[in-house]
Symmetry: C2
Subunit: 154 residues, 2 copies
């Protein structure tokens, strides 16, 4: 029964599960889809905090913290998906510029800076103080914009 259920999972998550050993993605497009998905989830939950920061929804400390925890988890994920040979060739399908790979050290430093700012946002959310969250939110936003300005097709 267990082996049958595992086979069933293989059918459901074939793209993710049918990996060659030591590789996380079977095909380059799987890596693109993964990183875009992780970014989408991160942006959504960051945006939910933003709605509180901007006063469009009431501040709820528990909700803000839950969202900050998701943002923190997601902040570590997308970068595994930036595998070689996956610069965007069609802006409508993705915006990853080739300089991500030709200037990888700078890209990686930008990713790390974002993760550090997200860590500050999570710490701020744990204080249950909206002013602290507002201050940290801006720091994260700057790293979003900085990296997208430089490494996204505009």
């Amino acid at each position: 029964m267990k082996s049958r259920s595992i086979l069933a999972v293989l059918a459901v998550t074939a793209a993710a599960v049918s990996l060659p050993a030591a590789a996380q993605f079977q095909k380059p497009e799987d890596a693109v889809k993964y990183r875009q998905s992780a970014m989408t989830v991160m942006a959504n939950h960051f945006g939910r905090i933003g709605a509180m920061v901007q006063g469009r929804v009431p501040y709820d400390a528990a909700v803000a913290l839950a969202n900050a925890e998701v943002v923190s988890t997601m902040s570590r994920l997308p970068f595994a998906g930036f595998v070689e040979g996956t610069a965007s060739t069609d802006k409508s399908k993705g915006k990853a510029k080739a300089n991500i790979w030709t200037d990888r050290a700078k890209f990686d430093a930008s990713a790390q800076k974002m993760q550090e700012e997200v860590a500050k946002l999570l710490a701020a959310a744990r204080t249950n103080n909206l002013d602290n969250i507002k201050a940290a939110f801006g720091g994260v936003g700057q790293t979003c914009k900085g990296c997208h300005d430089e490494f996204w097709i505009q």
Copy 2:
């Protein structure tokens, strides 16, 4: 400076941030993209555990646990995206069947069952024992398959 950086974030994550109060998604398609993204990330990390369960990559307790933690976080997210009026009308773009909404109680119960099985998988990963992970992995897989069989356009 802070308000400028917040404005910058608005530009980057406009879809997520420009929400009406009390709504998580501005447009139905944002909800679809969000739930698909969360499922993609969940399936990827579940698949990484699967690779160890099936012996295609060596068992690494820390890596398995890290993946189980991501799966656990993701398991709570997609369901907010199943908003009314977002059944798939084009199988190539999404597979959510209309019975998700006409039989919502059953769908929600299936989601909860999956989350319970994922909690067991996370607990198993914390034991640092591959046999425990194998047993729990099958349980999660059954809930994936069960829900997709019933609520996905085949």
